[in-house]
């Protein structure tokens, strides 16, 4: 069983048990993590699932593709080098222990 930790904007840490194959956005909305909205349902259109990874975590998972990079650049506010859209990060045993911070609005 793999886990992911969300850090909400007010600093609250939420540990979520991952259902294999779901995305970071799905895990976050399912658990009711504050600030993870996923308005477009995971189509990489709205950037309402924007999170920051640690540099280590960012490097150990598959990198964002061109579509996600464009969505981050033009839709997300407060983009950082380790920004990701939660809907594009698939969770599995390999992502166990991921810690992500909900991006600033």
């Amino acid at each position: 069983m793999s886990q992911v930790t969300f850090i909400e904007r007010d600093g609250t840490r939420r540990i979520v048990e991952v259902v294999s194959g779901e995305s970071l956005m799905q895990a976050g909305t399912r658990a009711g993590v504050d600030g993870i909205i996923g308005e477009c349902g995971g189509s990489c259109m709205c950037a309402t699932c924007h999170v920051y990874l640690t540099e280590e975590d960012f490097a150990r998972i598959d990198p964002p593709d061109a579509m996600e990079q464009d969505a981050l650049e033009f839709t997300a506010s407060n983009q950082r080098p380790t920004s990701r859209l939660g809907c594009q990060v698939k969770l599995s045993a390999a992502t166990d222990g991921l810690t992500v911070t909900v991006a600033e609005a």
């Binding site: 909305t29 349902g41 464009d70 033009f74």
Partner: protein, 406 residues
Amino acid sequence: MQRGVVIIGAGHGGSQVGFSLRQEGYDGPIHLVSDEPDLPYHKPPLSKAYLKDVSQDVQILRAEKAYADARIELALGRKVEAIDRQARAIRFADGATLPYERLVIVTGATNRKLALPGHDLTGLHSIRTRTDAAHLREAMQTAGDIVVIGGGFIGLEAAATFAALGKRVTVIELAPSILGRAVSAVVAAHVDAEYRKLGIRVLTATGIERLEGEAGKVKAVRLSDGTTVPADLVLVGIGATPNDALARDAGLACDNGIVVDATLATADPTIFAIGDVANFPHAHAGRRVRLESVQNASDQAKHVAKTVMGKPDDYRETPWFWSDQGHMKLQMAGLSFGADRHVRTGALGEPAFSVYHYAGDRLLAVDSVNRPGDHMVARRLIAAGISPSEADLAEGPDRLKSLIGR
């Protein structure tokens, strides 16, 4: 009972209103009322991921805990029968009433029904709710031949899903082209050609005489020219009509939806309408529109929260839409009403391109096929009122990005 904000309808828009009100600092009671029994869920996957994979459950929009944390009272599975404007209360089918200080109507739309002989056979489906999609998913497992009536977004998304599952699929569209109301002719022609490559039969400019059945179940669709198309299952996707009856019965103006002003308020200053059901004056288009999209519902929800809080402003978000059709990602930004010039980027026959719609020199809208970067930039260009020249378009994405300061 303290009066608060009552929201009727818990789709993407309705469920957002309560959260946006809290963000705006509203502290009173919030009631979210829905005739559906389930927690609000994502609609777009119902014609795609959910249909394709029987192990998939619907995706809820937010966990139940999120509503509790935000002190949003859920009244699910409760059908509203009337709005009593005098008493400022809604009345449920069971006779109970719920008073409001402000009322937000987010009742959405209902799929149009087929008005043809044979419309009452079993085996006919449509997609709007999770129940619709669940029934369709179950029925399609044993169907070999599927006919999709109507070549709009939902019908075509489902057609691509059916084809991917090995079904024999025929799409029947009365108009000369599929997606006629939604995208430009060049995009529609491209999608049409791609669908044919997938083995989907696309019959445009084709009327239907009736549905034929056997023992009460649909067996075939008989076309106006007398030929028949076999059908174990028929998906009807011929548009939707706004659920404005509650408002109309309460004496509010309705004309293809509930008529609201640019702040999304009705003529009754305590009642608002947003999303698929709202007919509003669009800032850029310079006309009234009613838009059926997740973006419109969500952004209007955020906007109406401000209006309800006594900070009225004109709604002016740039509309955007998307439709994932098999291997094609269609993305539309802006509204192309009144466009007189259409510029395509990318060579003919290429699987990825965009079409820029202009009225004179003013950019109105951009349709993209597998060009998500173009779409994202287009949203920013249109919102900022920046109109690239044909020379800018020819120079490519970097030039367009530079126009919005990137």
